[in-house]
Amino acid sequence: MQKRLYYIIGLFIAIAALIYSCSWLEGDKNGEAEIPDEVSYNFDVRPILSDRCFACHGPDANKREAGLRLDIAEEAYKALKDNPQAHALVPGDPKLSEVYLRISTNDSTQLMPPPASNLKRLSDHEIAVIEKWIKQGAKYEKHWAFTPPKKAKLPEIDNTEWPRNEIDYFVLNLQEKKGLEPNPEADKERLLKRVSLDLTGLPPSLELQNSFLTDNSANAYEKVVDKLLGSKAYGEKMSLHWLDVARYADSHGYQDDNYRTQWPWRDWVIHAFNTNLSYDKFITWQLAGDLMPNATREQLLATGFNRNHKITEEGGVIDEEYRVEYVTDRTNTFGKALLGVTIECAHCHDHKYDPFSQKEYYSLFSFFNNVKEVGMESVVGGPETFAKKPLMQISNEEVKNVLTFINKPDTSKLIVSVMGDNPDSVRKTYVLNRGVYDQHGEQVTAGTPASIMPFNKKLPKNRLGLSMWLFDKNNPLTARVFVNQLWQEIFGKGIVKTSGDFGMQGELPSNPQLLDWLAVDFREHGWNIKRLVKQIVTSATYRQSAVVTKEKLAKDPDNVYLARGPRFRIQAEFVRDMVLASSGLLVKTIGGPSVKPYQPPGLWEAATSGRGLLTDYVQDHGPKLYRRGMYTLIKRTVPPPGMGIFDASNRDQCEVKRSTTNTPLQALIMMNDPAVLEASRVLAAKVLQEKTQTRDKLVKAFRMVVCRTPNDKELKVLTDYYAAQLQALKRNEAKCKELLSVGEYPVPEKLNIAQLAAMMQAVNVIYNLEETITKT
């Protein structure tokens, strides 16, 4: 009884608090308190209609209620089928518009959305927006993302001193409108750490820190940026996001989840970024390298992109079911990664929100449906199963002469799954009813969603033609979507926050003019990725300090207006890289087969079917223990545990955005992962071997890890801690030995073990600081 009482009391409190917080949030939402003078369909009205109405009155013909569709003007203005005297929308007159009457009524039998739909009732504010929109003529607009971007002229701003490049004009313009002021520039140490992490995924070395700090020239920062952009680690950093997008992994996935050798494709991605292959080529080669005239081996290898999906080796599956699944995966990946739309929703039925019919889905599907492949080629087996047909074999000769970027360590046979169409015939494509592989509906031919941009009939009806469509200057999405993803990787969230959904249900761009300017500029400059990256990181917007005052936090808690620099925890692989690089353990080899560093025992063994090469985790030794995080072997069904805890993708499907969580399991990793402990020990040994004062040793370790000089208060905490540890450990040799026993990297013999153990503890404290794994 008492428990129930608690429950009820709790519920009351919670509801009260929720109401409070909602009302509070309401005011916080951009401009929601006031209704704009000119109501915009795209920015004010459509988000409401899409979220609450389109599921039943939108593009999906099968689920349409009362024959009414509200996503198209002509349809919405028509007389209602059920009641021809009435109209859903009467431009200029809300009181005659059923839409307005039904959303504002108190009669629950009339109310829209109906209570049973579980869709929330429109707020008074939302109702008022619709009312005003109808009054102003209920004018529809094409969805913003399906209209080609145009470069707006730079906005007028008050503080003309601040901008460093065009980006800043757009950013400052919004800040000034919101009564915000940009932060001052970040201090040099923090800025260097930030840009080094963003361009290479690694902390700046001590040498780089020193040279930058002492370089007082006006372009010191630009010099550093160029240096980082030119480093090989740049390609590795840029690749990580693309590996998520391309759902790259080292195993086939599904039931038995045996090994695959797709890593030469990953080596190509790194190479492509490092040689600054333009984005149009980067994508065209991956989509259609095999179809290009006189295709090179490199172009063929690039098509591995479309074969990175999971492939079954489960005996007894129905072949066609899985073949269709692969084509589906490619189609969905194309939609999400390159067009930023949730085309996958039209797999089973017409899209409920966006104007994509199921037929259009299968027209797009058709481009990927002609691959010379089967659903289940082989069950778990030896090296001949590490890639599935169509495949390319890569010889040592080729690696020496042509594909020089592949890090092939030995002379064994190497095969990679790539694309290759049936040469003579085109596989017929049908609409699959409810998305079921053998429920053939109407036959379709290759095409693209008309609402985005119809497919030009002059283009070849294959993946090469699809690439040309993608890079047509009138394609409204391609440039916006990539620019937005890149922005997201640097600022933590895209200008369009839902980077995988630019459709009706996606978030609106926080700064539409900026997005469009960047997109057009990117295209006009030859899809030059390095140029775009440089443009972003040299902006004043990027260079701001990340300090946030209480006032700013209250005004813009999510930093939508970018009146402060980005500050967030670095990604899983870069946490590992930071630990290895700062301790000096990092082995900088690029590419090659993935590696198996320390991993808690028993994880693979507990979950395996017992078949294949990846049943038991056989840990590597030597240099392979110290490779960058992106090279850790990904077995899809049991991905590296530490990575998942830090929100890495499990590479099951295309992923364009990772979450950034903060959990106790992450704390446990930093406290107890042997890789972190070993790095603490190795860095401790390094500073102890120098003939310096304890204080200087700690300063150095701090600078290596946190990438800035500690202040006096911080240093005092560390020196006191070290002294206390040393005092305690001096008397306990056995304990020292135990503490130092972690990791395979040798312990230097000459060092005093109490000092080493004490210093290791102090360094471990530094590794566990919030700032250490945060881009600040």
Partner: protein, 485 residues
């Protein structure tokens, strides 16, 4: 406890609340650990009328223990008694019964489909007079606590998609697991343990792998991911301090980390820093709480006897059942077990016997143990696999040997406690054990019912991801009211 959680939840609205009310750094959030989504304005409160972290209506069950029998145990040798199959031993499966059912690639090419009855005898037990095979003597004894559903059906015919369907509501794709949905919906009851834990064990029968996507958080925050408890020294990954470091050392170390992090907070004002400080504190508490809860050595003899001697061997099914009780007792919302080895395509009689022997006693003991402690009322226990098995033999039918292929159209599971009707048998299949003739229960219906017992409406437990509203039950499913006490 509940009140405490709710109140803690209230003190925390991530960065927004902090910034608006200028709460001190210290008051940040335990709530976020327990009910991470309670104040995520952008997600829940504009999507549906529910508050993550609280039941939507008075719940019957507070916790779930799901004993997943991975590989799909045969219903025909366990809970679905079909004497006719014995009578018709060796005769062909009539086409009128098969009705065009799709077959797996393993038997699709078979020229003959000879019917085969259970190798094991069945008897009736308890007041419910439920038929149970001789392979499950312990389960037979608690039959009046069980609700046996013989009319489960699914859509998939292969392990990977079928398991994924059961656990996430969709055959393909990276959707959140049932436990993750529950964690999202109800939060945690315990500030030292994760809300969703996973325990793995392996039988001697033909096995199929399990995979972490079965306990994935999908698009939910990773705090809702199932945390695997393993048999090794580290029951939770990276839990143990390194050798040489004692609890005092760890406390001291964390104090230094905390001091420095506070300085950083002073400088930057970023609420993530204070959240980090709290996460370290929870990690520290977990380091004590987890070994306590996973230590089975202090269990009294009568408990050990009840679960069987294997329960003292870490990593066995019996040990996991006992551990599941302890975790659940300590407030873990969703304990998910997987026991591999139930894929009897051949050698069914001996393999099924071994599998049953490894699991029967402990499964029954778990129910009895919970009941003795007065916890069964608020704990829902579920036993079952991902699909059923064919009534005809896969491969050659011999007198003492046969196998059974995958069969999606009917299979049996049981549930106990958590407000489910005890002592009933629900649903019926035809005399061939091939098609359901009354009260079919689809996987989504089952999921809807489980959520219902927890006080969650499956149609309202929604998460909006990339513009679409997702549910565990996708777009179907109805609560099976007949099963509810």
């Amino acid at each position: 406890m509940e009140k405490e959680i709710i109140e803690h939840g209230l003190t925390y609205n991530r960065r927004r609340f902090l910034s608006s009310l200028s709460l001190g750094i210290g008051s940040i959030a335990l709530g976020s650990l327990l009910i991470p989504d309670i104040f995520k304005g952008s997600q829940s409160d504009d999507v549906a009328d529910f508050i993550p972290g609280l039941p939507m209506f008075a719940p019957k069950a507070k916790r779930v223990i799901y004993l997943f029998q991975n590989g799909a145990p045969s219903q025909l040798e366990s809970f679905d008694y079909k004497p006719k199959l014995r009578d018709m031993w060796g005769q062909e499966l009539p086409a009128s019964v098969r009705q065009g059912q799709k077959l797996t690639g393993m038997t699709a090419g078979q020229s003959s489909f000879p019917l085969v009855g259970s190798y094991y005898d069945f008897k009736q037990y308890g007041e419910s007079r439920a038929w149970i095979s001789d392979l499950f003597p312990y389960t037979a004894k608690i039959v009046d606590d069980l609700c046996i559903v013989r009319s489960m059906y699914t859509e998939a015919i292969n392990h990977d998609p079928a398991l994924t369907f059961f656990q996430t509501g969709a055959q393909q794709g990276n959707r959140p697991s049932m436990g993750a949905w529950v964690s999202y919906g109800l939060g945690s009851e315990n500030k030292n343990l994760p809300a969703f834990t996973v325990l793995l064990s392996k039988g001697k029968g033909n096995g199929q792998g399990v995979y972490s996507k079965l306990w994935t958080n999908g698009f939910l925050d990773s705090i809702h991911q199932g945390v695997q408890f393993s048999k090794g020294e580290d029951p939770v990954l990276y839990l143990s301090d390194p050798s040489g470091l004692n609890r005092h050392d760890r406390r001291k170390m964390l104090d230094e980390v905390s001091k420095l992090n506070h300085m950083s907070y002073e400088e930057f004002g970023d609420p993530e820093i204070s959240a980090k400080i709290q996460q370290y504190e929870m990690a520290y508490r977990m380091q004590t709480a987890v070994p306590e809860v996973t230590d089975l050595s202090k269990e009294p003899d009568d408990i050990v006897k009840m679960y069987g001697p294997d329960c003292l061997v870490p990593g066995t099914y019996a040990a996991n059942c006992l551990l599941a009780r302890k975790l659940s007792e300590n407030g873990v919302r969703f304990v998910q077990l997987y026991h591999q080895g139930w894929d009897q395509h051949g050698r069914l009689p001996p393999e099924m016997a071994t599998q049953a022997k490894d699991t029967d006693q402990a499964s029954a003991a778990l129910v009895t143990d919970l009941k003795q402690r007065g916890l069964l009322d608020e704990t829902l226990v579920i036993w079952g696999g991902e699909f059923g098995r064919t009534n005809y033999s896969q491969g050659k039918l011999e007198k003492d040997n046969y196998g059974r292929d995958h069969h999606p159209r009917c299979f049996s599971i049981w549930m106990a406690g958590g407000g489910i009707k005890p002592g009933i048998v629900y649903g019926e299949t035809d005399d061939f054990g091939y098609n359901i003739v009354s009260n079919p229960v689809h996987v989504h219906d089952f999921q809807a019912t489980v959520l219902n017992q927890l006080g969650l409406d499956h149609e309202k437990l929604i998460y909006k991801h990339l513009g679409r509203r997702y549910r565990l039950t996708d777009v179907s499913g109805k609560v099976v009211r007949d099963l509810i006490a």
